[in-house]
């Protein structure tokens, strides 16, 4: 069901483990299946110098975690913020339709880590960079922050088609939903 590249990242995940003294941490849970991912970053000169992940989840979740860490290493924060769930899945050469939601974890955890870093810098507009459009003020870190405004936790509803032009790649939501 998974392609070779996904299996390769699953078998030999890159940048896995805990980071000592990270500059930012993002932890997200997958509302669809209950899995959890944490990404820690070290930032230097506005670039992601090091990144590590820890994931409790399926093969796709582990592979996308590994993939996203490879993709952002050395990138500027701005570039990293532009990495989407879709681009991670694409970089992996695609995921089975009912596993696309797993890639949400990877990009979201990364973005949370960056937001955490920026919040720690003590400004809403750290470095004058673009912030995620939801522009939420994050006053804390380490997943303390249960976002209120999140209109949805079910995650089964289809994505609004943002970074998914074709919109074809959403979980099939087989029988149960």
């Amino acid at each position: 069901m998974y392609n070779d590249k996904v299996m390769e990242h699953f078998r030999n995940p890159k940048n896995v483990g805990e980071m000592t003294e990270p500059d930012g941490i993002g932890r997200v849970g997958n509302p669809t299946c209950g899995d959890i991912m944490q990404i820690a970053i070290k930032v230097k000169d506005d670039r992601i110098e090091d990144v590590k992940f820890q994931t409790f989840g399926c093969g796709a979740a582990i592979a996308t975690s590994s993939m996203v860490t490879e993709m952002v290493k050395g990138k500027t924060l701005d570039e990293a913020l532009h990495i989407t769930n879709r681009s991670v899945a694409e970089e992996l050469g695609g995921l089975p339709p009912n596993k696309l939601h797993c890639s949400n974890l990877a990009a979201d955890a990364l973005h949370e880590a960056i937001k955490d870093y920026q919040a720690k810098l003590g400004g809403s507009n750290g470095n004058g960079k673009d912030k995620p459009a939801d522009g939420e003020e994050k006053d804390k870190h380490e997943g303390q922050d249960k976002h209120e405004g999140q209109d949805k936790h079910e995650g089964k509803d289809k994505p609004e088609g943002k970074d998914r032009p074709e919109g074809k790649d959403r979980p099939e939501g087989k029988d149960k939903h």
Binding site: T32, F53, A133, Q150, G155
Partner: protein
């Protein structure tokens, strides 16, 4: 992937076909290939195969051959029983009693009937996955036309008190009693009279027979509205030219099961017990799911905390070991197993569930292989699990930010 030795531990999903079964199926494809309804010798030979199988399948459950109707499998047998009773007894009542841990072949059929106006009671189970016969008694009403409760659960292996439930049903009211016996038939002693069963579903591919064949036991005198209409095959209960090779194979598999049931149970039990005790001894934060003693001889189901099931399965598969899991991530529907949830297991525990089901083709070496292989896999996966990191640092689980791109705009 270079595959060395493979170990198949998913016999509750399906089993390899016994060589003798293959042989007889060959005969009914290559030589006795006639249509059993035909009058010539080809037809008569095929008819003989079907009727022999009917005797063999009946004998393994203490029934008479006339009470057996062949179907396309366990799913059809369940549907035929439940829908057949529902439609046939609409004038008597509209209430059905079942349990929350049934196979989808039963649950989805009941849900479908609910949409058509039937009332369905889904009885809860205890933490071992066991239905309480007393709950059945309390749920019975004058409107109850059918009680359908499985003999043993396919995921956690818990053997239900089917005979007691049957007694309760027969003592209180007029409901028919259907048992989904797909997991017990051929793996555990079955006698439809002792169970007080009116209807009993069995499947061939769980007992070393071919896929796509099953049977429904229909006690003499029980009337069902058939699912399909056509010729007079299977006494009109299930029209359509009989799948002779499959039926003959199923018969042979039932015969082998009957002749070797004691050995089969002893063999499976020994492997299962070693598997459970070995894994629980090797792995911390691990528990057995299902009943400690009232369980199918072939079923081991454990939950490994801080690890997700699919990633365990993939790793085991890479080592040539085939198993299954009730994890949300493996389910297609992305919900954890309804059985584990019905037993009150929290999502996290259901997430790390691993089902290993042994069979006659397994050896103790296979089991030792798994006991030697799984702990490394678990260690590796725990090393990358944020939950395990929390655990060893003594945190309780940290609150989470729900993910999902819905709330992040084009970042």
């Amino acid at each position: 992937m270079a595959e060395t030795r493979r170990v198949y531990l998913d016999h509750a999903a399906t089993t390899p076909v016994h060589p003798e079964v293959v042989k007889i199926m060959d005969h009914y494809m290559l030589e006795a290939f006639g249509n059993p309804s035909s009058i010539h010798s080809f037809g008569r030979e095929a008819r003989k195969g079907v009727e022999e199988a009917r005797e063999q399948v009946a004998a393994l459950m203490g029934a008479t051959p006339n009470e057996i109707a062949f179907t396309s499998g366990g799913t059809e047998a369940d549907n035929m029983a439940i829908q057949g009773v529902a439609h046939g007894r609409r004038d008597v009542g509209n209430h059905i009693i079942t349990s929350t841990i049934e196979h989808h072949a039963v649950l989805h059929t009941c849900e479908h009937l609910e949409k058509a106006g039937y009332k369905v009671t889904y009885l809860p189970v205890d933490k071992y996955g066991m239905v309480d016969p007393d709950d059945v008694k309390k749920a019975l009403t004058p409107q109850t036309i059918l009680v359908t409760i499985m003999a043993a659960n396919n995921e956690v292996g818990t053997i239900q008190p089917s005979a007691e439930i049957g007694r309760v049903v027969k003592e209180h009211g007029q409901a028919y009693y259907h048992i989904d016996g797909v997991q017990t038939y051929g793996n555990w002693p079955v006698n439809v009279d002792d169970l007080h069963a009116d209807l009993f579903s069995a499947s061939s591919h769980k007992i070393y027979g071919p896929k796509g064949t099953g049977a429904l036991y229909i006690r003499k005198g029980i009337k069902l509205v058939p699912l399909v209409f056509g010729g007079s095959h299977e006494r009109k209960r299930r029209p359509g030219t009989e799948g002779v090779p499959g039926i003959a194979g199923f018969g042979k598999a039932a015969e082998i099961a009957r002749e070797t049931l004691d050995q089969r149970i002893a063999h499976n039990t020994a492997l299962r017990d070693r598997l459970i005790s070995g894994l629980l001894a090797e792995l911390d934060y691990t528990r057995l799911n299902g009943h400690p003693t009232q369980r199918l001889p072939n079923n081991a189901n454990i939950s490994v905390e801080f690890v997700e099931g699919e990633s365990m399965l993939l790793n085991l598969d890479m080592k040539g070991i085939a198993a299954s899991s009730g994890s949300a991530c493996t389910s297609g529907s992305l919900e954890p197993s309804h059985v584990l949830l019905a037993m009150g297991l929290p999502h996290e525990i259901a997430h790390g569930s691993l089902r290993l089901t042994v069979g006659t083709d397994n050896t103790m070496d296979d089991i030792e292989d798994v006991i030697a292989t799984l702990p490394d896999i678990v260690r590796r996966l725990r090393a990358m699990s944020p939950l395990y990191a929390d655990k060893i640092k003594g945190h309780s689980a940290a609150p989470l930010t729900p993910a999902g791109e819905e709330h992040h705009h084009d970042v």
